[in-house]
């Protein structure tokens, strides 16, 4: 298996071209194996974990529908999701032999993704609780405890989740890194094609630098293949569907809130409350 594709430039020097498409297959297989492994482990091997007990008194203090994602947040998520899927399909289908005119679709989806990311950065910085994505030492302690208990080992009970479980935050940060790299390199690569946005100029970087841009773009993109496979899998899992529904409806029901979330870390607000964070 090759990791990188090299060529020879007109001066006889070795030139980095891009990643090897072998990595696409590796990323796809890794994602699928993870899904299968996780599903098998959860179905047959994982010790059963009883749901946290919820009493009526706790429920009484919580709104029936707890707001989780504002309309703006949901719009961003789904626009980004569509753009990302279009980018992955238009980017990789030609590499596996499906012929179609992909370049225009690809860069337009890339522009949509970029605009949605800019929107999200502004929205998250000024209207959302930016710190809800922060991972602190206590989160790590809780994660270790949770992991030990999932293996059937003795460990103190971890705190309930804040607004976003640790795995959500880790996934978000992985997407920030890979999505950020793929977007920045993608914008640079748009200088190599004709678009109405700016004048084509493939010479803003040297050949070797372009090679590195292509490699970073490719590595980020194949990483996203694995991440997207895992994300869709978790979004469809029965025990996670209430989270997926919250990304559609914007709210979670009070029972899931009480079961899974710590009011100290995430105060419940009623759906429709304009003060939602």
């Amino acid at each position: 298996m090759n990791f990188l594709t090299w060529g020879t430039d007109p001066y006889g020097q070795e030139l980095l071209i891009r990643i090897s498409w072998d990595l696409l297959y590796l990323a796809s297989v890794s994602g699928i194996l993870f899904v299968i492994g996780h599903a098998v482990w959860l179905s047959f091997l994982a010790p059963s974990v009883s749901a946290a007990e919820v009493d009526d008194a706790q429920l009484a203090n919580v709104p029936e529908k707890v707001a989780r994602h504002s309309l703006a947040s949901r719009a961003f998520h789904w626009i980004m999701a569509v753009a990302m899927l279009v980018l992955l399909f238009t980017g990789f289908l030609p590499a596996i032999g499906v012929q179609f005119a992909w370049v225009t679709m690809h860069w337009i989806a890339g522009v949509v993704l970029t605009l949605s990311i800019i929107y999200h950065i502004i929205h998250a910085s000024f209207w959302l609780d930016l710190w809800s994505m922060w991972i602190g030492p206590q989160d790590v302690t809780d994660a270790v405890r949770r992991f030990k208990r999932s293996l059937g080992q003795d460990a103190p009970a971890p705190r309930k989740h804040a607004k976003y479980p640790l795995e959500n935050r880790l996934y978000h940060h992985a997407i920030v890194v890979t999505g950020g790299l793929v977007t920045i390199t993608g914008l640079l690569m748009m200088y190599r094609i004709e678009t109405p946005l700016w004048t084509r100029d493939p010479y803003i970087l040297a050949d070797q630098t372009w090679g590195m841009v292509y490699v970073v773009h490719g590595l980020s993109a194949v990483s996203l293949v694995t991440l997207v496979i895992a994300h869709i899998y978790f979004g469809l899992r029965p025990e996670k569907r209430w989270i997926t529904w919250s990304m559609i409806r914007g709210w979670i029901d009070r029972r899931h809130y009480v079961e899974h979330h710590d009011p100290e870390q995430w105060a419940a607000r009623s759906e429709g409350d304009s003060g939602q964070r």
Binding site: I17, G97, W102, V103, Y203
Partner: protein, 333 residues
Amino acid sequence: MAVIRDMMTTFELFQPANVEDAAALLREHEGRAWVLAGGLDSFDWFKDRIKRPAVVVDLGGIESLKGIESTADGLEIGAMTPLTDVVRHPDIAENYGLLAEAAELVASPQIRNQGTLGGNVSQDTRCWYYRDGWICYRAGGNICYADTPTSMNREHAIFGADRCVAVNPSDTAPALIALDAKMVVQTTGGERVVDAEDYFIGPSTDIMRMTILRPGDLLTSIRIPSTWAGARFYFEKVRDRQVWDFPLVNVASAIRVSGGTIEDARVAVNGVAPYPMRLTAVEDALRGATQDEATAERVGELAIRGARPLRQNAYKIPLMRNLVKRSVRVAEA
């Protein structure tokens, strides 16, 4: 980079006697096999050591791929039929003179004796950066050396460029498009028949190929329907050397005229885009118009709409406009 000329690297040669064996060989060696027709394009690549296939499948021994047959609806020409046979065939000369004229303008008599119709439409581009072994987009790289501020791109595209600016060099391709020909392709999934214009693909679809042929596919024959038999035809090729050269621009038209009014028309050009271009806007404008100077002038201007010249090939715009004008004005039965 081409270092040693006229010395091919070694390869395993197969000379199947029928299409089934050829297809089986291509399947067996998929991704490593090179299909050899007349060899005019192939041996350039091999001798320059730019393409170094491990396996070559020579179609020269497959008799069923050669010859021209009359069918219930026109003609069927085997992909391995030499261009000379196409030029000399009486039915083609009488009813589909457009193809005979285009084939006769391909290269030299010796090349037409050896070169095949299938090879002519399936040949690779002549972009010298690519053919000299530079690692451009078409060769699997990520740059076009022909589209830089200092590159030599006099012969390159004014339409349809998408990162790669190479053009299709076939003379017979626009004639086949104008005649509404169908290409018969043997694929791993069976026989596939496509319109001639759909046989060619641009870099936006696949930057490393000029036709729909995938590894393992074979063009077996070309069917010419009788729809345009005996129509008014025009073919003209403009090239640097009149005796033997690839086209800078060529044009092929088939027009049906009744009482001075154009009933229907098909017009195609090549040498201006990475694929032979059928000019559907021109055809639409021609239908119902009078075959006169004003119409020719109008469709000439229409033909060049959207052209984007490179640094050294703006001359192709008036050239193409004038060829299209002439193809309408001069087309005769």
